[in-house]
Structure formats: structure tokens, C-alpha cells
């Protein structure tokens, strides 16, 4: 029997999207090589393998052309490898998991960003929207279960990992009152469970290191948020 084809991930240490690819592989028990990118100075390797979006993560499995887009990668890893299933078994639950992951990526980003980095009325409005979104997401946690996937981490936990780790980092840097115990106790508990998990921890960047790396970019984040607010 030939040895299994090598798996590589082109990622970035502080990218929540890159984390998704790694978390999926680790939860399935698939060994992989991580190639780290400096996103401010993208390599030929990345641009060659993801010419369409030029982003991380990129999954390389053997000799086949790359698979790109973090959620596409997560589903691929789930289907291509043995190991515990990341997607729920029930068809309606699968549709719901995909819906909420898509909601996270498409609908939540802008308001969360503005809630973190603007001020005044724009910030207040964005914070209200963000809290509504967090409440909706929190409502998807199955009652009495540790994870969105139930007893074990699943696709939606991985997709929402941004909230569990990165959002808490951004909240600390920005000082905004978001994702608090008072307002979202269940989501906060989930965030602690997710980031403490033995497997997931191994591909989460050290919190202090991320804070140190991202704090200098605060002015940039504020200007991006202001541009978003101006367009609304």
C-alpha cells in the first residue's frame, strides 16, 4: 500500500481562516506541513496556488491543484479523510451549520469591525447589531451541550472559532464592551471550551503573541472601520 499523499497548508499565524484548515486536519488526525505566509508580503507559492483570491488558507493534498477558501477546505477534509465527522449527520442540521457559518462570514464581519474600531453613534449602532448577531449565534448552541457540534467539536465550532479566540483579542485591544459574560454567558462558556480543547489549542496562536502582533495595527483597523462607516 502506497503511503498517503502529503498534506500541506499555506497559512498565516494570526489568521482565523487559516486556523479553520488546521483545526479540521488536527481533529481528523491528519498530519500536515504548515507553510507560514507573511500576508503583507505574499509569496510566489501562495499567489501561484490561489491566483483567484490570493489568500490563506490553501490546502495542498499530494500533487493535485490547491483547494482554497477555508470552509471549502473544512468540508473537503471532512469528506476526504477518515476520522470523526465534523459535519452533522442530519441533513437539516448540515444545512443549518452551513447557514450559520455563511452568516458569520458574510453578515457579521463589517458590523463587528465597526463595533470594535469606530466611536460615537456609528459604534453604538454597530455594537447593537453585533450583539444581536452574537445572540442569534448563541441560540444555535444545542441546549446542555458543550459545542455547536454537540458533545464533540464540529464544523460550526471551527467556523466560529474567530469569535472564541480572535474576537476576545480584539476586544482587549479595542476596549469595546462586546462578548461579555453578562450579555452572552453561554457563548463565553463555549469560547472557553473551544479554546481549551486539547486538539484545537495546538493550532491557536498564543494569545499574548497575537495581541503583541496586532496592537500596532490599531490605527489601520480604525481607518478601515471609518471607511466602512462612511460607505454605509
Amino acid at each position: 500500500m502506497s503511503s498517503p499523499a502529503a498534506v500541506k497548508v499555506i497559512g498565516a499565524f494570526d489568521s482565523p481562516f487559516s486556523h479553520r484548515a488546521e483545526a479540521a486536519l488536527r481533529l481528523k488526525g491528519v498530519p500536515y506541513e504548515l507553510i507560514l505566509e507573511d500576508l503583507r508580503n505574499k509569496s510566489e507559492l501562495l499567489l501561484t496556488h490561489n491566483p483567484v483570491h490570493k489568500k490563506v488558507p490553501v490546502l495542498l493534498h499530494g500533487d493535485r491543484p490547491a483547494i482554497c477558501e477555508s470552509l471549502v477546505i473544512v468540508e473537503y477534509v471532512d469528506e476526504a479523510f477518515q476520522g470523526p465527522l465534523l459535519m452533522p449527520a442530519d441533513t437539516l442540521a448540515r444545512a443549518a451549520a452551513r447557514f450559520w457559518a455563511s452568516f458569520m462570514d458574510k453578515e457579521c464581519g463589517e458590523s463587528m469591525w465597526m463595533a470594535l474600531w469606530t466611536d460615537g453613534e456609528a459604534q453604538a449602532a454597530a455594537a447593537r447589531e453585533t450583539k444581536t448577531n452574537l445572540t442569534l449565534i448563541e441560540g444555535q448552541l444545542p441546549v446542555g451541550k458543550r459545542f455547536f457540534g454537540g458533545d464533540a467539536i464540529g464544523y460550526l465550532d471551527i467556523a466560529l472559532g474567530w469569535i472564541a479566540h480572535w474576537m476576545r483579542v480584539f476586544v482587549e485591544i479595542s476596549g469595546a464592551r462586546l462578548l461579555t459574560e453578562e450579555e452572552h454567558p453561554v457563548l463565553c462558556r463555549w469560547a472557553r471550551e473551544y479554546t481549551a480543547d486539547e486538539t484545537v489549542r495546538q493550532c491557536l496562536p498564543d494569545r499574548d503573541r497575537v495581541i503583541a502582533a496586532l496592537t500596532p495595527r490599531k490605527e489601520l483597523y480604525i481607518s478601515i472601520a471609518k471607511a466602512m462607516a462612511a460607505q454605509r
Binding site: V52, H61, R64, P65, I67, C68, E69, V72, I73, E75, Y76, E79, A80, T91, L92, R94, A95, R98, F99, S102, F103, E107, L136
Partner: protein
């Protein structure tokens, strides 16, 4: 084994000219699944729609035994999984499925929004949208290559169903952007002709003239000349 769901238990809440709804109509037709079609008035959304999609309040919504599924590509994948004995749009191989999902996502992220900027904007921003639309068409042209369908060996597939509804918008994009799809992306133009003749697509789409008239209605609504 889970009991087979009664396929006539399908209701589609939709809006006639929506390319997103049309994806679902195409998938249902490809799978020969009977369903009840409900036309929603987007100016006065029904309670059923608002309850079924409380987050976005958007069509299409598929109700299966009364349970809602939202987002067109998610609905199509749901149909694949809930009705496994019907003709499939996604191939069996995980790698091919991943590529299909990637390209359907690309169409989803790019085409409608860029097209909307073509009719909403003027001057430099519109020129930028035009340049972007040409880029999108060329990228899709490269992906299609010499294949008959985006689905390749699989035949008419997930990406074809995702992109086909936009073929009835090509004429509008051409008028607004002053270009010809046949010149910018001849393989895409040929593909558009081919899919247009496919029964599932032909019966789901409206004529390009009707789409152009609809854009006129939208422009009036947004106060754009």
C-alpha cells in the same frame, strides 16, 4: 435507515426573477422533484417567509415538511443530500466536490454584486465595476476551458446551476457595461447558449428583455436614471 421524506412535501418561497431562486428551481427540475412554488411579494413579505428566514428575510426559502432551509447554494446541497436517489449535481469524489464548491462560491461572491454596481453607479465607480465584470468573466472562462459544462466529467453540475441564472442578465450587463460577452469570454457565451437550451434552465429563467425591464424598475426604485 431514516424514513424517506415525501418529496411532494416541498414548498419554494421565491421571487420570479431572482437568480438565486432560479438555482433552486433548476436543481429541483434536474432532480424531477415536484414542489409548490410560491411567489413572494418582496415589497410585502408574507408571514411564512419572515418566520422561515427571520435572519435575512430573503428568498429563496425551501420548506421541507414545513422546515426551512435558507441560502440558494445551501438549499441545492440540501436537496443533494435529502434526495440521494435523484440525479446529482455534485460529483462523488471529495476533491471534485471541493473544486465545485469553490467555484460556486466564487460566482456567489462576485457576479450579482458586481452586476448591481453596473446599474447602480455612474462614472468612475461604474467603470471599475465594468473592469471587474470583465475580469470575473475571464476568470470563469479559464475555469470552464474546453469543457462542455463546469461539471466536467460529471456533466451539468453544481457550478453550472449556480451560474446559469446569470446568463439571462448577460444582455443587461452588456448594455450597461458596453461590452459583448462573446468577445470578452467566447467560451462562456457558448456555454450560456448550451445551458439555455437545457430544459431545467429554460423553464426556470426569464428572457433577457424581462430582466432588463426589471433592472429598469429597480433603478426607478433607487432613484437612479
Amino acid at each position: 435507515m431514516a424514513p424517506e421524506k415525501n418529496s411532494s412535501d416541498l414548498v419554494l418561497l421565491d421571487f420570479w426573477v431572482s437568480p438565486f431562486g432560479q438555482r433552486v428551481r433548476i436543481a429541483l427540475a434536474e432532480k424531477s422533484l415536484p414542489y409548490e412554488y410560491v411567489e413572494e411579494d418582496l415589497a410585502g413579505k408574507s408571514d411564512r417567509l419572515l418566520q422561515s428566514n427571520p435572519v435575512h428575510k430573503k428568498t429563496p426559502v425551501l420548506l421541507h415538511g414545513g422546515k426551512p432551509v435558507n441560502e440558494s447554494l445551501i438549499i441545492v446541497q440540501y436537496l443533494e443530500e435529502a434526495f440521494p436517489d435523484t440525479p446529482s449535481l455534485l460529483p462523488a469524489d471529495p476533491y471534485a466536490r471541493a473544486q465545485a464548491r469553490f467555484w460556486a462560491d466564487y460566482v456567489d461572491k462576485k457576479v450579482y454584486d458586481c452586476g448591481a454596481r453596473l446599474w447602480k453607479l455612474k462614472g468612475e465607480p461604474q467603470a471599475q465595476a465594468r473592469a471587474e465584470m470583465l475580469e470575473i468573466l475571464k476568470t470563469l472562462e479559464t475555469e470552464l476551458g474546453d469543457k462542455e459544462f463546469f461539471g466536467g466529467e460529471h456533466g451539468f453540475g453544481f457550478v453550472d446551476a449556480a451560474f446559469a441564472p446569470f446568463t439571462s442578465w448577460f444582455q443587461s450587463y452588456e448594455k450597461l457595461g458596453e461590452f459583448k460577452v462573446a468577445e470578452v469570454a467566447p467560451k462562456i457565451a457558448a456555454w450560456a447558449d448550451r445551458v439555455g437550451k437545457r430544459e431545467s434552465v429554460a423553464k426556470s429563467l426569464y428572457s433577457p428583455d424581462k430582466v432588463y425591464d426589471f433592472i429598469g424598475v429597480l433603478k426607478k426604485k433607487y432613484g437612479i436614471e
